[in-house]
């Protein structure tokens, strides 16, 4: 015989009651673990090609060519020829003080290189003046604009040593005449180029740099892959302000060229540049980008190109040849 059981009182399911039992929180957590990840629906960013200009106008030198290229998506190789943009109308204006064009230089395509444009009138670049780049791309109905102010010319003065012994003295002194730039001090970029790069000629700093990349022997073994010692033939030093160098009583400053920038014994050519604002912003930010993305995140470059990216930069430069002897 089956007895009918009395009905149990219906439990009162208050919120407190629910939370006082171990199972609901576990269920709640399980739900949250499973459901909440669905809240992030943002997809990966996609690449939208941008036009890139590249041109460096050097004070006192002929007007420089202009390159016009396109960015490529990451994962695809970049080739300046393949990714050059043809069919554009390129002009450079020399601006008057009021901002109007005092003179316009037309550019024509370089028949040998796609995306490269050459000035029709190879006039020299005037220091302390502002140039404006105008690029029209009819196929894309796009225009790009950029402007740069050219630093004043300067030169390395007599008295700079022609021959130095490595690490003899704190640095290589390079007396230079004054370099001006509107509304600020000059900003220097130092560069060394050697004509005879070889492993045998590496200075201790050069050897450290190679060993930092990999071991010297491994470096030698991988020359086939493009890791040639020749890639170190050109070597740059971080940007420095004029205030970092001592003033000369006769005017100008003495550039103190650091030994750490000298990677090869033998003949070296030291290039001292002063840069305009556009190039300064580009170089200082590409330097940070090159350091890679740490916890602080990836850094973009600052460019002054409206409608695209790249660099339309102004600079002045002076060079000095010096022979670096091995110490005794």
């Amino acid at each position: 015989m089956i007895e009918s059981l009395p009905a149990l009182p219906r439990p009162v399911r208050t919120l407190e009651h629910l939370l006082s039992r171990p199972l609901p929180p576990a269920l709640l957590l399980a739900l949250l673990v499973g459901v909440l990840p669905g809240c992030d629906t943002a997809g990966p960013p996609t690449h939208e090609p941008r036009y890139v200009v590249e041109s460096y106008q050097v004070a006192g030198e002929p007007l420089a060519p202009v390159r016009l290229m396109r960015t490529v998506p990451v994962g695809r190789s970049f080739d300046a020829r393949d990714d050059g943009v043809a069919g554009a109308r390129v002009r450079v204006d020399l601006l008057a003080e009021g901002g109007s064009a005092a003179r316009t230089y037309a550019y024509r395509p370089d028949p040998s290189t796609r995306g490269r444009y050459l000035p029709e009138d190879p006039d020299s670049v005037r220091p302390f003046r502002t140039y404006r780049l105008r690029v029209e791309i009819p196929d894309a109905e796009t225009s790009l604009r950029a402007r740069t102010t050219i630093p004043d010319t300067f030169r390395v003065l007599a008295g700079a040593p022609d021959t130095v012994t490595y690490r003899d003295g704190a640095h290589v002194p390079l007396p230079a005449s004054k370099s001006r730039y509107p509304e600020r001090r000059a900003i220097y970029l130092l560069n060394t180029r050697t004509a005879e790069p070889s492993l045998d000629r590496l200075t201790p700093t050069g050897r450290e740099l190679v060993a930092g990349l990999e071991s010297l022997s491994a470096f030698r073994d991988r020359e086939d892959e493009g890791y040639t010692v020749g890639s170190l033939a050109g070597n740059e030093w971080p940007l420095t302000n004029a205030a970092s160098y001592p003033s000369r009583s006769a005017g100008g400053r003495t550039i103190t060229y650091p030994w750490e920038a000298v990677l090869f014994f033998g003949a070296n050519r030291i290039e001292v540049h002063t840069v305009g604002d556009d190039l300064y912003d580009f170089i200082r930010t590409i330097s940070v980008q090159k350091q890679g993305a740490g916890p602080a995140g990836y850094t973009n470059v600052i460019d002054h190109v409206r409608g695209g990216t790249g660099v339309f930069g102004g600079l002045a430069r002076a060079t000095h040849r010096v022979y670096v002897r091995r110490p005794e």
Partner: protein, 747 residues
């Protein structure tokens, strides 16, 4: 007759027993007015017993068996108060609960260091250096106040490897951190793996997340006020906790004239480090140690007068070879001290004064690179302040006060042997504030305040008004609205996980103080005696926020204002928290939905982009289930939606560059155009606590951190190889389940 006999038997049976029962009588009063509080709840913890106060604020709990009791008194809108006592048979005890109003509902969170740990909030935090060998080691989960605070709604973090707090869309430097009355400038040990505060030496942690009280100033976002303590209520009390990474000891005592505390903590990682180094494990720190010490003494100088002195000191040393090309070497230390007096001048007036100072020094270096880098930072602060509070009646209270501070900021960057940044700034600032609290009825409260501050050099005058309206429509419900303006006169620029490289610099010529306007709304509902729901919302706009521009390669000769990036920002969001503080199952479930963006001139064409710590959703659940006989299960879960990152989507290579020795890819991508994977982590633990021979208590925690083994991403790096292929590398935080064992002994 039978009834008479029954009554006699009952009397015989119960009479002697009742004579053994103990009684607790008491009163609950408001700390501001001393007025009795009707309707306050008084409960016995661990026993299903409680009562409410009558109209006179009094209560009685009788019929209590001899034993140890913990009592908790609550009233909506007020901080709970607790008492622990031991009743002898037949004893009658009188208690007085003094409840202090929460200054801002859903704005201020007050917790004690002990409660954070007991709730498993701090103990489950963890951190790890990046090498797999260190990750595999247990013992990284040390109790940590800051990691506990991250569980609270509105508080988030970017990584497990840093103690930085992001409060309601603010940067870490937007939070003022005070230990007693001293301002602190580095809150992390081991480059940020742990907070600098020994949980045994912090009595109270008050985090003001929104429109903070007028006695504080100088920060855009929030205020974290820590108090040194606690001291034993009677006699001498000691505790000792050992762990693989750090161990700590604390001793405190009290006597009729006052109380005292000393504590210390030191890293105990060296034996493990030596063992691993002997096995030639790569990537380990060569040197790694830290310590901190705290001391506090308080004396009662007559009726209503009290003097307190507290000191704090830390030192860190870390030498970490990251790889063959990079070696970090950092040593930094910090000292702080406070002398404080409290005086009751009559029945209605109370005066407080303090003298405080702090110093932070850091010497951090990067070696093995072609251009070795060294940064030296020093910040010193000396301050004195006073305030006077007058309560002429139960409906009005006002406070007037001021503080003067002198600060020294030094920062020096040396690349190779060239000094690229060398700034020494001295500031003198003075602030005066006035605040008043009006209670037109028992249910309405209005707080009004204004703070004026001047700082030189720069001759900055800034006025910061604040207002708050609070209403209690029902006994268990409180609503609040608040609005205010805040200013920040200094900036902290740093990188996550590398706190030794942080730079502090003040506003000055060419860069003025930042400003923030904000409004908040809050709701607090005591659903039951032990279950509380908090809802909050906030919106803030920031102008003139400034930070050191790390992209300036050489600051020599540049004007002070040129060193900074100055921009704007905003943040808004909503928060919900459900707390259960009593019963077998206790814990907190907190959820934050928020958004915060920034705008700087040279980034993304001056358009808004998500801040690095912007997370849409942030969910934290911390639960503890008591199993009886001293056993408890703890669990913590965190889900945070993905934080922003910059993912290169395109690139180009310069061809004609006259200054480059070789060609480099230039990446192009809008800043923070992508997000990392969401963060998920679950920690589980088993705890056993109990007594040892009646003279000590022990606690053993066995935890597994990241029990699901989810590899949360710390950051991603991109690199282009010689064949122009882009390689992406993800740096994980804690990719494997990590066991942890800690033992604590209290004497």
């Amino acid at each position: 007759m039978r009834k008479v006999l029954l009554v006699l038997l009952l009397a015989l049976a119960t009479g002697p027993a009742r004579a053994q029962d103990a009684t607790i009588r008491g009163v609950v009063v408001d700390s501001a007015q001393g007025a009795p509080m009707p309707g306050a709840n008084v409960r016995l913890l661990d026993r299903p017993r409680g009562t409410a106060t009558g109209q006179d604020g009094r209560f009685v709990l009788d019929g209590l068996a001899p034993g140890r009791y913990r009592l908790k008194c609550t009233f909506v809108g007020y901080r709970p108060a607790r008492h622990t006592l031991t009743l002898e048979a037949g004893e009658k005890v009188s208690l007085r609960f003094v409840l202090a109003a929460r200054e801002i509902v859903a704005e201020e969170v007050v917790v004690t260091g002990r409660r954070l740990e007991e709730a498993g909030l701090g103990g489950l935090g963890s951190a790890t250096p990046e090498t797999a060998d260190l990750r595999a080691m247990p013992g990284l989960g040390q109790g940590d106040l800051f990691r506990g605070l991250r569980r609270l709604p509105g508080v988030s973090a970017t990584t497990d490897l840093s103690t930085d707090l992001h409060v309601r869309g603010g940067a870490p430097g937007h939070t003022l951190v005070r230990l007693d009355e001293a301002t602190l400038f580095n809150t992390g040990h081991a480059m940020g793996l742990f907070s600098a505060f020994n949980p045994d030496a912090v009595d109270e942690v008050a985090l003001h997340r929104g429109v903070y009280p007028t006695r504080y100033g100088g920060r855009l976002g929030s205020v974290l006020q820590l108090r040194t303590g606690p001291s034993a209520e009677d006699g001498v009390h000691g505790s000792l906790q050992g762990g693989l990474l750090a161990s700590r000891i604390a001793l405190s005592g009290s006597h009729p004239g006052g109380d005292w505390l000393v504590s210390g903590r030191r890293s105990t990682f060296e034996p493990m480090l030596r063992e691993l180094s002997a096995r030639e494990v790569d990537g380990l720190p060569r040197r790694f140690w830290f310590y901190d010490v705290n001391g506090r003494a308080a004396v009662r100088a007559g009726e209503g007068h009290r003097l307190e002195v507290s000191v704090f000191g830390t030192e860190d040393r870390l030498e970490l070879p990251v790889n063959a090309k990079l070696l970090f070497d950092a040593v930094y230390d910090q000292q702080a001290g406070t002398l404080r007096g409290t005086h009751r001048l009559g029945e209605t007036v109370r005066a407080r004064w303090h003298v405080a100072g702090s110093r932070y020094r850091s010497d951090a270096r990067v070696h093995r690179t072609r251009v070795p880098f060294a940064r030296r930072v020093e910040v010193r602060s000396e301050a004195a302040g006073t305030e006077l509070t007058h309560r002429p009646g139960p409906r009005l209270e006002w406070t007037i006060g001021g503080r003067v501070a002198r600060r020294h900021y030094d920062v020096r960057d040396v690349h190779l042997e060239d000094t690229r940044l060398d700034r020494r700034r001295r500031t003198i600032g003075g602030a005066a504030f006035l605040s008043t609290t009006l209670r037109p009825t028992a249910r309405w409260t209005v707080d009004l305040g204004v703070r004026a501050r001047h700082q030189r050099p720069g001759r900055f005058w800034r006025i910061s008004p604040r207002a708050r309206l609070s209403v209690r429509p029902w006994d268990r419900l409180r609503l609040e609205l608040a609005a205010g303006r805040q200013h920040q006169f200094l900036t902290r620029t740093g990188r996550p996980t590398l706190s030794a490289f942080d730079v502090w610099l003040p506003a000055g010529p060419g860069v003025g103080p930042a400003r923030s306007d904000r409004a908040t709304a809050g709701l607090e509902w005591e659903i039951t005696d032990c279950l509380r729901l908090e809802l909050g919302g906030y919106a803030r706009r920031m102008e003139g926020i400034f930070r050191l521009d790390r992209r300036i390669p050489d600051a020599t000769g540049r004007s002070y204002g040129e060193l900074f990036l100055t921009g704007k920002g905003y943040a808004y969001g909503g928060e919900a928290a459900l707390r259960r503080e009593e019963g077998r199952l206790t814990g907190l479930i907190a959820y934050t939905w928020g958004r915060t963006e920034r705008r700087y001139p040279t980034i993304n064409d001056f358009s808004y982009y998500p801040a690095a710590f912007d997370r849409r959703h942030d969910l934290d659940a911390v639960l503890q289930l008591r199993l009886g006989r001293g056993w408890a299960l703890t669990g913590a879960y965190r889900y945070a939606s993905a934080r922003p990152t910059t993912r290169p989507v395109g690139y180009y290579t310069l061809v004609d560059a006259p200054y480059q020795g070789h060609r480099h890819a230039t990446f192009v991508a809008p800043r923070h155009n992508a997000r990392l994977a969401p963060y998920r982590r679950m920690d589980l633990g088993l705890r056993k606590s109990g007594g040892l021979f009646g003279a000590a208590r022990y606690r053993v925690d066995l935890q597994v951190i990241n029990v699901l083994g989810h590899a949360n991403v710390w950051y991603r790096a991109y690199e282009v190889d010689r064949s122009y292929e882009v390689r992406r590398t993800s740096m994980p935080q804690i990719p494997v389940p990590l066991p942890n064992l800690s033992v604590r002994l209290e004497l």
